[in-house]
């Protein structure tokens, strides 16, 4: 059970990192256009095909 004293704080650190990344993403406009970005990958695949 002693390992918990180490593992729990480490888990906590990871959560704080996740929140920091989330905040950064919001500030950098990553959530600006949810309708569009999901489909971008489909178009780019085609463009690459043409170049080949």
């Amino acid at each position: 059970m002693e390992s918990l004293y180490l593992l729990i704080p480490i888990a906590a650190v990871f959560v704080f990192i996740a929140v920091a990344i989330f905040t950064w993403a919001v500030k950098k406009d990553q959530f600006e256009d949810l309708d569009r970005e999901g489909q971008r990958i489909l178009f780019e695949e085609d463009d690459n095909d043409k170049e080949k």
């Binding site: 729990i8 996740a18 989330f22 919001v26 085609d46």
Partner: protein, 792 residues
């Protein structure tokens, strides 16, 4: 043979039409030459992948073809720096795009513009319909870029974020972060809580318990202090204004449970409630976030239209020049081209035309005007070019007067008393009295447990379920209404819709389509008649032309418009006339006049040397199922009235006065609003309208709904927008609003009675804190489940 859909826009292709092209080695049909041109352009630019990728059909070419190139205007040295950011050779601008329907549209525009030389970068945001463009003015002109976009079937106009946009964007980002922090924090604290509960049952080392408590504390603190900040701020405002809303018990609940948990954590006695606190904060934030998001969506991107309006200034011995409207002054003479919006009030000094004043009066038939007649801003010049002498600009115009009236109406709008806030007011006082009495009572009785019993009282009475009761029900009702086709943009709509007892409709554009439709044709060959009429009207922008379809297999030449009379043109070498009785009487003597009961518009088609060959009857048509919807409303004991700026004759031609409780014609925007004011005391009013003339009434009514095709101003001031334009949606919405009201009352009743039962037990010290916390979570869950019945 079934009708084929247009390859580009998906509209039905008329049977007798044959517009075909080869796209991707496949012969396809189009509904009009506009759509064909766009598709061929896309194919030519090697972008026909668009058609494979798109998930929605494109807009019809008719909707995007208006030549409205505002980019030449921003070249004015005064306006340029407002829109364009210069960085050496590279200039930077934001563009608002119209007509995008799915992600493929954005891809199409981006890819096409990247093919052009001189474009440094282009990025399109689909949700806001805004593009960020960087280009080199030395290599490519901005107006040419806009033209490219137009060739693809979209409309572009320069965009400049005003302060409201910036504020909204900033506020939205902050709420997303607040919500995210609350969400993550809640999950962590919940996990710790499960461990603690398990520990209570199985036994757990005190040191481990302390660690987990501290961990919950660490995660709950940002949730309470940062995410919950808006609640505390609002509660402080409540205290200052002495008007208690739900924010006060909410912050009280969060604040007290949080401090009590810290105390019990430090003293290692009692129970921690960090889990309840975070969950509560998260769910309340979520409700508010969804409400805000719906509201912001309805704001249009085109609020800087005024600044980009332009006028053609006429000066003696100088060529006509297009200049920004802001530089026009009183007494100037300006040219209004046919089809253009009139930007100012003025008097016609040269020429004659007809003016579409439907946005101001509701009269959908254009009015013929000649030299000396007044024209007003926000109306459309339909036929010929005219010159006008400017008599009022900006805030002095009649249209601006309506906007001022709107502000007044808005300030007098009755406030809807929210049930929850009424409850909150008394609830707070009751809870505070109970808690303090409990503490005093137990202390006097000499108990060491006095503080803990008081905390139990507070937790038991924690307004979790009570304050969730309304938002969860409203959120699921709002979503359901959106499915019905009604977009709710203000928080009070559902409550006020349920109370609505008198609905006032505008006529033109609301109950009717607001444009001419062919009612029937009287001729020997209807199809032929229609083809000729369509060919003659093809170039026209007169509202009558909209009744005819855009394309015709026949081509007309030498088309001449006669103001107030009709149109003539040559087809296969023969001259045809289409217009009113006066117009065709020169060709033919014995004309059968229209039956007297017909109140719409009658057009005669005449052929030179032959005389009248057909009569076409046009009428503004009611929206489908509109009559049924109205009688249905009246059966449900809701009064229905019609207020229109139109003449009574024209109103009666489509609607029967006996179908309404009140039927008023030829009312001005001011009169409409005043009449609503007189009715306000008697009933709870819902106003449904679309035009500029309805805006003060929309702002002044208890609840207001704007039609999907409304003017921007109407949409901004309405509480909800009827996206599907079907009147019966209003009936469904009222029913749902009433159901929602019942659910809210059930929820409040449940939450209040739960509190009422538990309160005496807690005061007497029979409820351990952990049981209070579980009870609180369960009652919240019950409330949420009850609300979810609405979305079924």
């Amino acid at each position: 043979m079934s009708q084929k859909p247009c390859y580009h826009c998906g509209e039905d292709v008329p049977k007798d039409l044959n517009i075909q092209s080869e796209i991707d080695n496949q012969v396809v049909d189009f509904c009009c030459y506009g759509c064909q041109a766009i598709a061929e352009f896309i194919q030519g630019a090697d972008l026909s992948n668009y058609y494979q990728h798109r998930t929605e059909k494109a807009q019809n070419a008719q909707n995007t073809s208006e030549l409205d190139n505002k980019f030449s205007l921003i070249k004015d040295p005064d306006l340029y720096p407002l829109y364009v950011f210069e960085n050496g050779n590279i200039h930077h601008i934001q563009i608002s795009l119209k007509g995008m329907t799915c992600a493929a549209c954005a891809w199409l525009i981006e890819t096409r513009l990247q093919q052009l030389e001189g474009i440094s970068s282009i990025h399109i945001n689909l949700s806001t319909s805004l593009a960020t463009l960087e280009w080199q003015p030395k290599k490519i002109d901005i107006t040419d870029i806009a033209k490219e976009v137009q060739l693809l079937g979209y409309q572009a106009s320069p965009y400049r974020a005003d302060q409201t946009d910036i504020d909204i964007k900033k506020a939205k980002k902050t709420s997303i972060i607040r919500l995210g922090v609350a969400g993550v924090g809640m999950m962590q604290v919940m996990m710790s809580a499960i461990a603690l509960y398990a520990g209570d049952i199985q036994g757990m080392d005190q040191s481990l318990k302390t660690l987990i408590s501290w961990l919950s504390f660490a995660f709950a603190t940002p949730v309470v202090l940062y995410s919950g900040f808006p609640f505390f701020k609002a509660a402080l405002r409540d205290l200052k204004t002495r008007h208690f809303t739900m924010d006060l018990p909410v912050s009280l609940g969060i604040g007290l449970a949080y401090t009590a948990s810290i105390y019990s954590m430090l003293s290692k006695t009692g129970h921690v409630y960090f889990d309840s606190v975070t969950m509560f904060t998260f769910f309340l934030l979520l409700g508010r976030f969804l409400e805000e998001a719906a509201r912001h969506k309805s704001y249009s991107n085109n609020r800087n239209q005024q600044e980009l309006s332009s006028a053609w200034l006429i000066k003696e011995n100088e060529p006509v020049k297009e200049i920004p409207l802001s530089k026009i002054s009183l007494g100037d003479t300006i040219l209004i081209k046919s089809g253009e919006n009139i930007p100012v009030d003025g008097v016609i000094s040269k020429g004659s035309t007809s003016i579409d004043e439907s946005s101001l009066t509701g009269e959908y038939l254009p009015i013929t005007k000649a030299v000396g007649d007044n024209v007003v801003a926000q109306t459309i010049n339909v036929e010929q070019n005219i010159e006008i002498l400017v008599s009022a600009i900006g805030k002095q115009t009649r249209a601006a007067a309506i906007e001022r009236l709107t502000d007044r109406a808005l300030s007098e709008k009755p406030k809807i008393a929210k049930i929850a806030d009424n409850v909150a007011h008394y609830f707070v006082i009751l809870v505070l009295i109970c808690a303090s009495l409990t503490f005093i009572g137990w202390t006097l009785a000499g108990s060491d447990e006095a503080y803990w019993i008081m905390i139990s009282v507070l937790v038991v009475t924690c307004p979790c379920a009570l304050s969730l009761a309304t938002p969860v029900a409203l959120t699921s009702a709002t979503n359901k209404l959106k499915e019905f086709g009604l977009l709710v943009t203000r928080g009070h709509v559902i409550e006020s819709l349920a109370k609505c007892s008198h609905i006032i409709f505008d006529k033109t554009g609301t109950l009717t389509h607001g444009q001419f439709d062919i009612s029937h044709i009287d001729s020997t060959d209807d199809t032929f008649c229609l083809q000729i009429a369509s060919a003659l009207e093809r170039e026209s922008i007169h509202p009558i032309a909209k009744a005819f379809r855009q394309s015709s297999p026949i081509q007309a030449e030498d088309i001449i418009n006669h103001t107030g009379l009709g149109v003539e043109g040559k087809i296969n070498g023969e001259r045809y006339l289409l217009g009113n009785l006066k117009f065709v009487s020169s060709l033919s003597k014995n004309i059968k006049t229209s039956p007297s009961e017909f109140t719409g518009l009658t057009l005669y088609l005449a052929k030179e040397n032959t005389g009248v060959i057909g009569t076409i009857y046009l009428q503004d048509r009611l929206r489908p199922h509109c009559q049924e919807a109205i009688s249905d409303l009246r059966n449900n004991k809701i009064q229905v009235s019609l207020l229109t700026g139109d003449t009574s004759e024209s109103a009666r031609s489509v609607l029967k006065p006996e179908k309404f409780d009140h039927f008023k014609c030829q009312v001005s925007p001011e009169e409409k609003w005043q009449w609503i004011n007189t009715q306000k005391d008697k009933a709870n009013i819902l106003m449904v309208g679309d035009g500029l003339n309805d805006v003060p009434s929309l702002a002044g009514a208890n609840t207001s709904i704007a039609m999907a095709a409304s003017s921007d101003l109407a949409k901004i001031h309405a509480d909800a927008v009827l996206i599907n334009s079907q009147i019966e949606t209003i009936n469904h919405s009222i029913k749902l609003a009433k159901k929602c009201q019942i659910i809210i009352k059930q929820n409040l009743f449940w939450a209040a009675s739960y509190n009422a039962i538990m309160l005496p037990a807690a005061i007497l010290g029979y409820v351990p804190a952990w049981a209070a916390a579980i009870g609180m979570a369960l009652s919240s869950l019950l409330v949420a489940l009850n609300a979810s019945r609405l979305s079924r």
